[in-house]
């Protein structure tokens, strides 16, 4: 059974790049372009990992994270924050809300991000 990842990110290009890279590694990727859709999709399927950006339209990333970590159905799914927002207060806030890892996109190559995702899922 393929492992399923939900990717919540509003930038189309990034969606395409990361999805393609993950699919090449054998994962099934679900996309959500905003926080609301992200939450809905999270409730509909069994997920192995959620990738979450923080700056999102409709529902901001922190709100989504909070909801995911308090709902019975989704609270045990590991969440990796994938964002360009940096600042230790944001990182602390995300980790306190239950995120597993906080990655700043600009600091990593795509293959490094994929590696980290693989390591978290296994």
């Amino acid at each position: 059974m393929k492992k399923t990842i939900l990717f919540i990110e509003d930038e189309g290009h990034l969606q395409k790049l990361v999805t393609q890279a993950l699919e090449e590694q054998g994962f099934l990727v679900l996309n959500a372009l905003d926080g609301q859709i992200g939450l809905e999709k999270a409730m509909m399927q069994r997920l192995d990992l959620i990738l979450l950006d923080l700056i999102l339209p409709k529902k901001d990333g922190f709100e989504v994270l909070k909801k995911l970590k308090t709902q019975e159905q989704t609270k045990n799914i590991p969440v990796i924050i994938l964002t360009n927002l940096d600042g230790s207060d944001y990182v602390q806030k995300a980790l306190n809300l239950g995120a597993t890892t906080y990655l700043i996109k600009a600091n990593y190559k795509l293959e490094e991000i994929i590696e980290k995702i693989k390591r978290t899922i296994i």
Partner: protein
């Protein structure tokens, strides 16, 4: 703040704090002398009181303008920092997109010409990203939101890692980096110390002449309040005496023969110094034109 800087900030003379301070000083001194003279001539207390009150009023009014203009300058500074921060954050998103797309292109089949072009794109976008990151660092430094996240790590290994990552840059100018591996555990902000070191080493590489070497040393001196000392020595073009006092200033790039051959934002040393100062350390250098420069920094890091 001298008058020249007021001009640079587009401040009119009556808005310039230095000018206002001078006026206030003159008024106060004049007032005191006048009060004394008046008091010694007229024994009537009313005139003395009026004189004192007048002087006080004028000083207060001028003082008010001084405080207002200083406050306005501070606000403008703050807004500038915030703007830089917001703009840099926004710029990082398309830049990450760009970089990752280029990575993906590299994995496809490219002919030599395409490969060359894509490599040029990648270098340009990496430079852009470095500038954006530097600007963000500067904005953070100025907004006093510069917190340290300390951890224990091996400084020797970190330096080895940086040297490894900078190998392509060093090879491009045939520069050899000499560093005797040493194990030294310190307690500091690893990410920031890495940036501080990188900036210093990149400078050493860039300002070396071709076919030269850089020597990096770690020294631990016990019984000193800053026991950890790192030195980065290059044998390059050096820094002219007249320019030495500006070296750590923001956006300062020394006028020298390599100014146009090297790419730099002039932010590297400003950032390195801020990082080391935040760790309660010190940065300094010794330099001679055409002989070379050695940068030193010391840390009061706790050792294991």
């Amino acid at each position: 703040m001298p008058f020249k800087e007021c001009k640079q900030l587009n401040l009119k003379l009556y808005e310039c704090p230095s000018f206002l301070f001078v006026i206030m000083g003159i008024v106060t001194i004049t007032g005191i002398i006048a009060t004394y003279l008046i008091a010694s001539v007229y024994l009537g207390p009313e005139i003395v009181i009026i004189a004192v009150v007048l002087v006080t009023l004028i000083s207060i009014i001028i003082g008010h303008f001084v405080v207002q203009s200083v406050a306005r300058i501070a606000q403008a500074d703050q807004m500038k920092s915030e703007f830089v921060s917001i703009a840099s954050h926004q710029l990082r998103t398309p830049l990450s997109s760009l970089n990752w797309t280029l990575e993906a292109i590299f994995k496809t089949d490219l002919d030599q010409k395409q490969l060359d072009y894509v490599q040029m794109l990648q270098e340009s976008s990496q430079k852009m990203l470095k500038l954006v990151n530097d600007l963000l660092s500067v904005a953070k430094i100025e907004q006093i939101r510069f917190e340290l996240q300390k951890q224990k790590f091996n400084l020797g290994n970190l330096i080895k890692q940086i040297i490894q990552e900078l190998k392509p840059l060093a090879n491009a100018s045939n520069t050899q980096i000499l560093f005797k591996p040493q194990n030294l555990i310190i307690f500091a902000d690893k990410e920031k110390i890495k940036i501080a070191l990188e900036n210093l080493i990149i400078n050493a590489i860039q300002y070396s002449q071709k076919h030269n070497k850089i020597i990096i040393k770690i020294r631990v001196r016990a019984h000193c309040n800053r026991p950890v000392q790192i030195s980065i020595q290059d044998f390059g073009i050096g820094i002219i005496k007249e320019q030495q006092k500006y070296i750590f200033k923001k956006f300062f790039r020394a006028n020298n023969s390599l100014r146009h051959q090297t790419q730099g934002t002039g932010l590297g040393l400003f950032i390195s110094q801020a990082i080391i100062k935040a760790h309660k350390g010190k940065v300094w250098f010794v330099s001679q034109e055409n002989k070379g420069t050695t940068f030193f920094f010391s840390l009061p890091a706790k050792l294991s």
